[in-house]
């Protein structure tokens, strides 16, 4: 069969987990289904870092899928999260990225909410001069914003709208939990926040984060300067459900190898004029050069040398995604270590030597497959399963993503 007949015959979801029809990145109707079934379903959405909201009344706004939400430190010291939508006419309740408040008042008609998102009072409830006002039957206690169930792990705050979501440890699984605990082992401090506006469907980025095969091939900088070559030690662990993964690259044990001979990636003549950028401390004593972990659906955290960063991806439309970068250090970093992080951050983010390509590659896929909604992408590296593997020349973590996505979406 030629490729067109293969595509036509396969249409949607043939052959286990090794084919993905391009239609899933293109169909606008999936956005609404994903919002209801997936983002508001049995998953943990990353919301913020605990140190973002240390004191009672501190709040931050973020998103659960496309839904705007507020995360708040309550007077009791607990964390609350609720939909950022006034119960009256649907306006945003909080308008900025962060702040501190005693309570929240909608700017439109001054409906007032407590820090947990309960409606406390409404303006002119009894009317003015005995006229107008709400019916006597109206009771503010009957109205509350949609609330998230909140759990934290290692100072990171996650929320879910579903009672069916298991606790966060079980959801993430032991390997990813262990990696997360090590990375967030000390008090985190935000040292930068930037957003990359990606011209592609959010799932293409979710795949990219789990794609251990592409790193040293697309990101030529990696292979050239021997930061990350697949011939270095490492592997990928996928959680039992497929929802979460952690991939690890160890520091190289030998200086040269032949695995990349003849590929575009190899340009062994390149040397940095100022190698101090890659001057790293093995701060966890584990020889890890790079580690990327993901929590389904929209969270990733990385260590690259001394770089620590969180990535949250927020769908803005069928072909538009906000990629929120949060650059991190530890609150007790020495000035030397902090300086290393600042310099090594040239590797990450919208201008990152080993990440800028991820900003455009999803759009290359969108444009390449625009006339092939029934065509399929092919995911056979490392077999057809979603098991952990001791190599990164595999697409097992991407297949894990699709296993969970299809389960939740009923496809």
């Amino acid at each position: 069969m030629d490729q067109m007949s293969i595509d036509a015959a396969r249409g949607s979801w043939p052959k286990g987990l090794t084919r993905v029809p391009f239609q899933v990145y293109q169909d606008p109707s999936l956005l609404e289904q994903e919002q209801q079934l997936l983002f508001e379903g049995p998953v943990w959405n990353f919301l913020c870092i605990e140190t973002d909201i240390p004191n009672p009344g501190d709040w931050r706004t973020t998103f659960v899928g496309r839904m705007p939400v507020v995360v708040v430190r309550t007077d009791a010291g607990t964390i609350a999260g609720f939909e950022n939508r006034c119960l009256h006419r649907g306006s945003l309740i909080c308008l900025d990225n962060a702040g501190n408040a005693k309570d929240f008042t909608c700017v439109y008609h001054a409906w007032r909410y407590d820090l947990s998102g309960n409606l406390k009072s409404i303006a002119f409830r009894k009317g003015v001069n005995g006229k107008g006002g709400m019916p006597d039957s109206f009771n503010p206690d009957d109205h509350a914003t949609r609330k998230l169930r909140i759990e934290t792990i290692s100072g990171l705050v996650f929320g879910t709208f579903s009672d069916a979501t298991p606790d966060i440890e079980s959801f993430i699984g032991p390997e990813v939990s262990a990696a997360l605990r090590k990375t967030a082992s000390r008090k985190l401090q935000v040292i930068g926040r930037f957003t990359e506006v990606l011209p592609n469907n959010w799932k293409l980025y979710a795949e990219n984060v789990r794609d251990t095969y592409h790193a040293s091939l697309l990101h030529v900088f990696f292979a050239t300067f021997r930061i990350n070559r697949l011939s270095q030690g490492g592997g990928v662990s996928v959680s039992e459900t497929g929802a979460c993964h952690v991939s690890t690259t160890l520091a190289p044990t030998q200086e040269t190898d032949s695995a990349y001979d003849g590929m575009r990636s190899v340009d062994d003549g390149l040397l940095l004029s100022d190698p101090t950028m890659l001057d790293a401390e093995d701060e966890h004593g584990d020889r890890v050069r790079q580690q990327i972990l993901s929590v389904f659906p929209s969270f990733a955290m990385q260590r690259t040398y001394n770089v620590m960063a969180i990535r949250q991806f927020v769908p803005r439309g069928v072909d538009k995604t906000d990629l929120n970068w949060i650059y991190l250090g530890y609150a007790d970093d020495t000035p030397e270590l902090r300086r290393r992080r600042l310099k090594q951050l040239n590797l990450a983010g919208p201008a990152g030597f080993v990440s800028m390509e991820d900003g455009c590659i999803g759009n290359f896929v969108e444009r390449g497959s625009v006339a092939a909604p029934k065509g399929v992408s092919l995911l056979e590296m490392g077999g057809g399963g979603t098991e952990s593997q001791d190599t990164r020349a595999t697409e097992t973590a991407i297949r894990g993503f699709w296993r969970v996505w299809r389960g939740i979406m009923g496809q």
Binding site: T195, L342, K343, A351
Partner: protein, 158 residues
């Protein structure tokens, strides 16, 4: 011309040369606008306000700037595109012996190979300049973008 006017004129000329080097794709000329020990950082107004130290580009030596150009030429992948810097009038914020500080607003219009034209970045340069034996160079150029959002990627320097 008063000394202040002359300084202002020299900064404006430097900014024009700097913008032309980038917009004409003479990136190899870009590091020479800086002292050997320098700071070049791209950040945003929000990050500055919040005291966040990190930038999306951070170089503390002229050699690091040269490395960025080397990486862009030989390692990184991005679609063909060009910038057009529209640089405003510099505002002198201090002069002390050979040390000069100034702020200059700028816009960057980005044109992609397929013809798409976007207003890519609006912001200001916060500069610390040094009169290096008659040649004005950047000791520090902090690129403060008005927004923390960047479309797709930032390959070419601002």
């Amino acid at each position: 011309m008063s000394p202040a006017s002359e300084t202002l004129f020299r900064i404006a000329a430097l900014n024009a040369d700097y913008a032309a080097a980038i917009d004409d794709d003479r990136l190899e000329d870009w590091p020479a606008f800086f002292l050997e020990e320098c700071l070049y950082k791209i950040t945003s107004a929000d990050n500055l306000r919040d005291g966040n130290e990190a930038g999306i580009v951070y170089a503390d030596s002229r050699a690091m700037l040269a490395d960025r150009v080397l990486a862009l030429r030989r390692a990184n992948i991005y679609e063909r595109q060009m910038y057009r810097h529209i640089v405003g009038t510099p505002r002198l914020t201090g002069t002390q012996a050979a040390d000069i500080t100034a702020e200059t607003p700028f816009l960057v219009v980005r044109t992609m190979r397929d013809g798409r034209i976007d207003l890519f970045v609006a912001g200001r340069y916060r500069d610390r300049l040094y009169d290096d034996a008659g040649a004005l160079r950047f000791k520090e150029r902090i690129v403060i973008c008005d927004s923390s959002h960047f479309d797709t990627l930032v390959a070419i320097p601002l």
